[in-house]
Amino acid sequence: MPSYYWNVKIFDDMATKDLFSKFRLGYIFLWLFAVSCQFEVTDNKHVIINTLMRHAQMIKAEQVEYGILLEIRSPYTNEVSHYLLQDSITQVPDDFTKFQKIKTPLKGLIALSSTQWTPLLKIGKEHLILGISESGFVYDSVMKELLAKGSVLDVMKNGILDFEKTISLQPELILYSPGLEVSIDQLKRTGLPLFMWPDYLENSPLGRAEWLRVIGWLTGEEAVTEAWFDHIENEYFKLKSLISDTMPKATIMSDKAFNEQWYVPGGKSYLATIFKDAGADYIWKGNNITGSVALDLETIISQASEADFWFVTHFTDAPYSYEDLKNENEIYAGFKAFRNRKIIFCNTFRTAYFETSQFQPHVVLADFIAILHPHLLPEHKPVYHQLLKEEIHDE
Amino acid sequence: MEMLKLHHLQIGYKAQGKPKEVRVLTPPINAFVNKGEMVALSGPNGAGKSTLFRTIAGMQPALDGNIEIAGKTLSSLNLHQLSRMLSIVFTDRITDAYLTVFDLVSAGRYPYINQWMQLSKLDRQIIFESMEMAGIKQFASRLFKSLSDGEKQKVLIAKALAQDTPLILLDEPSAFLDYPSKLNLLKLLKQLCVDTQKTILLSSHDLDMILKHVDTLWLMAPQMPLVSGTPKQLVENKTIDQYFGLAFEENV
């Protein structure tokens, strides 16, 4: 178990991180520390040339003699998958049998999540995308065009897989998120090679973004993706360093009622990390939960109604205002952040939030810093998040 | 020959879960019905007529005593044996939309036929004879639900005839009928007794009607012993007045 997390802990340190970012795939680099480690997934010992992930925790990647070994796990389903990426067919020892072998670069794949196909589009590999899911929610104009042309098919709607289309596309790999067991079961029935992609379960912004590196390995475009991620990482750390421990920190709360329950991000979640890195004091930072916590309205009022800021996302194609928020629930109007007009808002319909924000954690962070500490980034133009605008005059 | 014999029969209810608490409706009953006889059971409401009927039909256990049908103790008969000994016409409504008269009458043959319900020549003959006797042969292919109440009652009697049991019980057969139909029905039942030597026991409130047609009258009243006699006897010795109470006496 501990071996699973060690890479993250170490790379938290900035200095070492810089050192590591110099390592690239293809460099044969014997490195003291790595040699001393053994890949614990198999019983046999392999010479590990390089350990590859720096932030992501759901995936462990090792450069070995035969290719790249991946161990991907989903705490959601307790599933662990093992993959071996190889750019040329080489004979591998018997103990690699439990690894699903994937010949790279791939020539065609199905990417069920937008966080899989977005980086493919960005690195100009859209011709590899054979199918996606839930096309009704696509924001990206390039993807919309590909769908309209028919060069990309929608193979899953409302969580239900179109078995026939999926089979007929004959993808070399299907990238899937381990969230919906029902859908996964349908996928398994196709008999096609699957690749688990639990990126959304990463609870650090850089961890989520780091999954784009896997796209690089799968497509043989690692030079591009490694540079891309280095840039993201650099930018993020630069912004994070603007915030010092001693700065005054405004309190922030998050989310609104859904089915009369509030699902607020846990203290160790992705958003909680963003809040912290942006120099805010998150109301529920204290708990150890990485997912979300369900709270009722009374708890919310007693714990959070006096928070300085309030982070709200909403999915709508109409303008959204304080008035709309109040119409959803009168009680919202009594919150301090509402009274002071300090609601940080993201319309997930009108922005490519779900598709691209994952690969721009530095932009997300900058959005928040610009709102929470305007003097630090006076020139910043908001991309995803901004203070909710007053579109209807006050009463 | 005694077709039905009630010996020291006690009817009533046991409290559920408390077998010692019983509600006995009448004093012990001793009575019998001869073969080919038509007996009417009458009495005011709450006398226990329905309970007695259910007990004789084997649908409710007797508290004490025993019932003999054609010399066999009721409790020793299983459901299948009983179904060939005694047929009943209930007041229950049959509402199925596609049941024809023939279907219903042929149901009387179920105790005799196998799982696949193939009717033999004999079965068919019995069914048609039963319909003929009940005077409904012309309705054979009609839907049961499309008949009048009087016709329906006759169909059910034909069904009981097709069941070919020595004893036929009819629970309030005249309850929903108009006057001519009632008369018609009782004449038919009497005729059947004579022609087929069937034994008929029926319950009824229509005293004036049954007095004219039945051989024997059984009277019941709450907490009074069951008395049996010819209608003439029971009228003359004023037992009827006694069992039906003053209100009835004035009407007579």
Binding site: Y76, T77, N78, D154, M156, K157, N158, G159, I160, D162, F163, E164, K165, I167, S168, G179, L180, E181, V182, S183, D185, Q186, K188, R189, T190, G191, N259, E260, Q261, Y263, G291, S292, A294 | M59, L79, L82, S83, R84, S87, I88, F90, D92, R93, I94, T95, D96, A97, Y98, L99, D103, A107, Y110, P111, Q115, W116, M117, L143, K145, S146, Q163
Partner: protein
């Protein structure tokens, strides 16, 4: 109905089933030309791995599930309508489907929110786990019903108990939803939409034989069912052990519903609509005819619904539940209106 007409209606239904089965095999969201389909079906499928997979692993299993689910639900509905002598009785009315839903809700929601690691480490996630949970829920309700049936004297009381169980299970499911994660709710919603394509090729033999056993057994109940049409008391007077038969019927209808719900989710309306259509088509109350008639009509309805769900544009994602209700409801209304009309002419 004369024997001649009986035979011709059955032949017509048989023909309809064959045509619909062909349509279901030849037509799908991916176009495979008929020659290839025939090649795959009857000759070798060398070099046609994709198409062969679509036909053998998807279209044919889906077709078989539709056929047997349609037949099973129709018979379950007929059994219950006769038992309760109530035209509104169907497999969902006794709370059996609701019990299955509760079982699935418990699995999905508890595995997510509370005992996640425990349940999922047992490998109880995925369709097999869901099937087992649905089965467990349905069987639990069945158990309660059987216990109740020995304690109540009237069939109507039993019906009311069944309806109350349905409400109870529904309420508990609602309560569970309230405390659940969005992903789990979505999984539950997807399950609730029903599907004929949830059974893999490997599981098909089990499903088909489980339903077949139930269907054959139901035909053996024909005579008892005919007697029950006259009411419990007449049935008993004709030599039927009504207590035993009541339990057998509930057990059989419950078994069919449980198996189908486990594999295909809660499929609405077939159980309610088909017996009405079958009765009206054959104008009979004889279960020896009605049971095969319901089986045939159920198969037709299920196959038609399956085809509609696969219409271009829906791409197989149209919930089968919506389609069955959409097709079934107008049918039942038409049947009832026609019946009403013929009634008033006679009387």
């Amino acid at each position: 109905m004369t024997n001649k007409r009986l035979v011709s209606v059955f032949l017509l239904i048989g023909l309809g089933i064959i045509i619909l089965m062909m349509a279901n095999i030849f037509w799908g969201s991916v176009l495979i030309d008929p020659q290839t389909v025939i090649q795959i079906l009857f000759f070798n499928d060398e070099g046609l791995t994709g198409e062969s997979l679509i036909i053998w692993d998807y279209r044919i299993p889906q077709l078989l599930v539709a056929v047997f689910a349609g037949a099973g639900l129709a018979v379950a509905g007929l059994l219950l309508q006769t038992l309760f002598r109530n035209p509104l009785a169907d497999p969902s009315i006794l709370g059996i489907s609701s019990g299955a839903s509760l079982g699935v809700a418990l699995l999905l929601f508890f595995s997510g929110s509370f005992a996640g690691t425990v349940i999922s480490s047992l490998g109880w996630i995925g369709s097999l786990g869901i099937s087992l949970a649905a089965m467990a829920g349905a069987v639990a309700v069945l158990f309660v019903l059987m216990a109740a049936s020995s304690r109540v004297n009237h069939i109507v009381s039993l019906l009311i108990i069944g309806i109350m169980i349905a409400y109870l299970a529904g309420a508990l499911t609602g309560l569970l939803r309230f405390y659940s994660r969005k992903e789990d709710i979505q999984a539950f919603v997807i399950w609730g939409m029903g599907t004929f394509s949830g059974v893999s090729r490997m599981q098909i033999p089990y499903f088909v034989s489980a339903i077949s056993v139930g269907l054959i057994f139901s035909i053996y109940l024909s005579k008892s069912l005919n007697m029950l049409l006259l009411g419990e008391r007449y049935a008993e007077n004709l030599g039927l052990n009504t207590h035993l038969i009541t339990r057998l019927i509930i057990l059989l209808a419950g078994y069919l519903t449980a198996v189908i719900t486990a594999y295909a989710g809660p499929i609405a309306f077939i159980g309610l609509a088909v017996p009405h259509i079958a009765r009206n088509l054959f104008k009979t109350s004889n279960h020896l005819v009605l049971i095969p008639a319901s089986i045939g009509t159920g198969i037709i309805l299920a196959l038609v619904c399956n085809l509609i769900a696969r219409l271009p544009g829906f791409e197989g994602s149209l919930p089968i539940n919506a389609v069955t209700s959409l097709i079934g409801a107008p049918f039942v209304i038409a049947v009832i209106l026609r019946q009403h009309k013929s009634n008033s002419i006679v009387s």
